[in-house]
Symmetry: D2
Subunit: 328 residues, 4 copies
């Protein structure tokens, strides 16, 4: 006898990524209920307990879970983090085959239990798996998509924020394309507050005077160096700690919030495209409006000729992977 | 014997604006201590009590206050909301004279008591008073500025957000110039997420498909209509309720946070300019980087020729007021 | 086509209390949508605009409203703040008659438009009106109740917190009975953290030593003085500013959250009692578990003999008012 | 040139506990700067990057770190999580020797770099190490203490909250004594909202009626079973996932906030006691008021005779460990 349907987030996979996402979602109160599923019964029980033991400090949210797939029942959002994880030296695409087969089995069972949910893929290679999950689910692309380059874009913004000395919330920059080696920054649209990144002057004025006296713009070499750093950031983290989990956990929680709060937030998620700047049938990250219907709209962003070429290269890379895996 | 200096916000003036700002700051935990000053002893005591009575629900912050100016002592930020308020039908510039005289008396006393503070003017006409307060304080323009068009820009973003169906956090648009009749939107730099506002297509695609199918851009007439609505928003609120207080309270709290958290946030505050696109010696709102030093930098934004003309008109308007008031 | 029903809070009455409650609810994100209703068309439009203009700074929530009662349609919670307000020197009970008649007209219309909502009375005299609203609504007492002594308890906790130097969140104390002159603190159950208030020693130890060395307990005279201060707090605020609005706004928002988040939070709200410590048929504030069903349970608290007598006196006071108003 | 000293949290040890604490602190904005130190250069660099990559979603906080102990310089709070971790089947006390030697080397270096900080031990066995750290630091017990049973108390509250159907924020219960096998709940002071836990009736009333109709109290057997479950909770988590990290991360962040916000919050931390209910010279968890000075006061809680005996047993257990380790 409740006056309100409360929000339920189900997370499939209780590894480092799934539990970091659950932890972030509980602390941020992204959802009223977080349900964790994993085939490893002892592991998932322990993770649920460890998360539940902290709920004194996290508001009104609740955490449940187990090894019975029914824990996802009636979820509003299902985030999939299960699968083989990326090892040092391994490319994201090399993990694909086994994870595709996991989804072939899993997706119909998830859709049966949470028929109205939005499904968000986080497992890598996320673009390949977004295609696979959408196909196996029978749902429209707007309801089954990957976390894509939300994380990569956050990395780019952090680097730019540190470099220019401006709050990260005022750094507007995106990585688009594959979540992987063919990804690239959309430099032509990057902004610091109200001005183009290309117009930003790098020297700060003296504190006492409110006048503007910066004087050196970014160089092309710096742009390339930053793009490389973003691309290699995951490898650096994996080399040092064996996996990435914290930043991807926050990125996933942020996507979930955009759905559950019906925000209309713009995030670069990866969905199967139809004639997006000439690309169809592959999932790539482009800026998309996320609300309670999933992807309400993908945004048609102007690309420079160089960006268009990079995007087509990213699409070709993905298409080759999909062909190899029989998903084209 | 404390390990940490905690943040203190002093608010001068316990009217509707000052107390709404205090209320927002307490709920948001913008500062650890909020100190309210007003010459009206009974009124300020009652407001402090009313705010304090709600602190069970607002975290670790504290509220104090009274009619002794020493309540502002050692504040990190001082927000000035005291003064004659705008009446229906009255222009912002008509309020100026009496408020200038209040500041002439007040500023040296405030600087004496809070010598390291950043001073934020909220009282109208805010641009005139920002010049007056800076002169009377003897401090650099980076440390004494007005809330300017932070509120007007928030109004513009809300209107655009409602119109395009995108989260307000992804609507990047600014009002610059005078906080008053000569203000104008910087349309040339306005963006919805990663694209120029001029490129935004207004029809949403059907929810089931993730492809982009919007098709009508904003018209020039719509831009003009929105600009007019923003300009008249204050008048509409004042006609209906006699004053504005809630949105300006939040705007002020937001500026305070940018200082106290040393954010480097970009906000269109009003400071005395030195050769900003040719304008000197008047205070106008332009995008500025706000951190713990106050205004760390004003940003040199590209203006279209039309915007440049509007900006010069705004400057001339202000200069005329300053001349009249003997502040030029 | 949304995966989630989002929470809607309707507020009836756009005066200082209703709009402060709306402001607090927007800043705290208590609900996804806040809808404001008032018979004064110009006023409510202005208040909605003023609140909406600040939404750049308040997350994903939205504010709407107007003078058409349909703005409350399908609300999950309806808070009623409309009515004649308390004037200096006026008792809470003297306001009753006209407000009862307002509710007689209003309640059936509200229930028709928001048939599944929880209804929270804030208008004074809140206990009388809680009875009236419950009767006129035809709903069970669990779904129609008053904000009661939530505010008075917050005042008590703030005074104790200041006195003992402990965070307000660790001060557990309640005012029960009438929200008015016959209210009283439940001293027998008051606690500072893990100990009874009567056991708290008032002298703090020197900072360098972690040993306990406080030595003076509260006196009976101090308890009486604090109880008097709480009771008179509203009068002091009203004398100084003409009305109370901020703390009651936060109190109301807190009750709303307990419902919308299905918290099971314990709050001293005022509902029509059935044999509660011998009292039936009047609405008085006693600790109640609030969740998405409204009042899930009233808690049977041990009273000292003196507290029992005070409670019966409070009940008799209310019953006399109800008799006079033809509501018994 | 900053108007405000911002809060710095240093975390020693970049393992699962240290990084979960950092993650929680960043998301909750517990501190403005989080600095992570670890002797493993590659590991700490990777953890800092992974945390930094998520800062787009975590407000104005910053994360830094490395393998140079100078990263802790001028911290306001230093949390120590470094050390050998507890293995399945291993008692907390068996880990002690090596961790004591780590602290003997570390504490003087930390105090040198952060001379005004509050030091919080999280490494196990936390009570033994709190004694060691206090001795090696030369600082008073109020400034060097362990996280103690803050986590165990949170576990107890969660279990009780689930059992009684009341929000965890209204469940007031504490585990005191050793953070380990001799710990025990302070049942005599446990409360659900305004009433003693022993008085709580376990059957909920039907939703439609607001009257109280619960009817069965907790049994002694249930209390014992819950106490056992809390004690074994860590072992269950460790068996299932190899370690605990999330709940202890939140517990640590909460303690840090109480210091940095100067809250006066009551938390059961473990400090060296002087004649606390007859116990001196060992560190045990008892409810303590935490503010910017560290432990402002330990609270003299009434114990039942059984609780007094359990507390003395806990003290004897600790004293034996300290003797063995040469710390008595």
């Amino acid at each position: 006898m409740s006056v309100i349907e409360n929000s339920k987030l189900a997370i499939v996979g209780a590894g480092a990524v799934g539990t970091s996402l659950a932890y972030a979602a509980l602390i941020r109160e992204s959802a009223r209920e977080v349900a964790l599923y994993d085939i490893n019964s002892t592991k998932v029980a322990a993770e649920v307990l460890d998360l539940a033991h902290g709920t004194q400090f996290t508001g009104a949210s609740r955490v449940t879970g187990g090894d019975d797939l029914d824990v996802v029942s009636d979820a509003n959002v299902v985030v999939i983090t299960a699968g083989a994880r990326q090892h040092p030296g391994q490319s994201r695409l090399e993990m694909a085959g086994v994870n595709v087969e996991i989804l072939r089995d899993l997706m119909p069972k998830l859709v049966e239990r949470a028929p109205d949910a939005i499904f968000v893929l986080v497992t890598n290679p996320v673009d390949v798996l977004a295609v696979a999950a959408q196909q196996f689910s029978g749902l429209p692309p707007a309801r089954v998509f990957g976390s894509g380059t939300v994380l990569d874009s956050s990395r780019l913004r952090w680097m730019l924020s540190e470099r220019v000395g401006v709050a990260i919330s005022n750094v507007h920059a995106l990585i688009v394309g594959e979540h992987g080696d063919s990804e690239f920054p959309l430099w032509s649209q990057a902004r610091i507050g109200p001005i183009s990144l290309a117009d930003w002057m790098l020297t700060r004025s003296a504190g006492g005077s409110a006048s503007s006296s910066g004087s050196v713009p970014f160089t092309e070499a710096e742009f390339e160096s930053i793009a490389e750093d973003v691309k290699n950031a995951a490898y650096r983290v994996i080399e040092g700690k064996g996996a990435t989990n914290y930043a991807i956990g926050l990125s996933g929680a942020r996507i979930v919030e955009a759905v559950l709060r019906d925000e209309g937030a713009i995030l670069p998620v990866s969905s199967v495209l139809t004639d997006y700047r000439g690309v169809s049938g592959v999932a790539l990250s482009v800026p998309s409006v996320i609300d309670a219907s999933g992807i309400a709209r993908v945004i048609d962003v102007p690309f420079s000729p160089k960006e268009q070429a990079l995007f087509e290269h990213s699409a070709a890379t993905l298409r080759a992977s999909l062909d190899t895996l029989g998903l084209a």
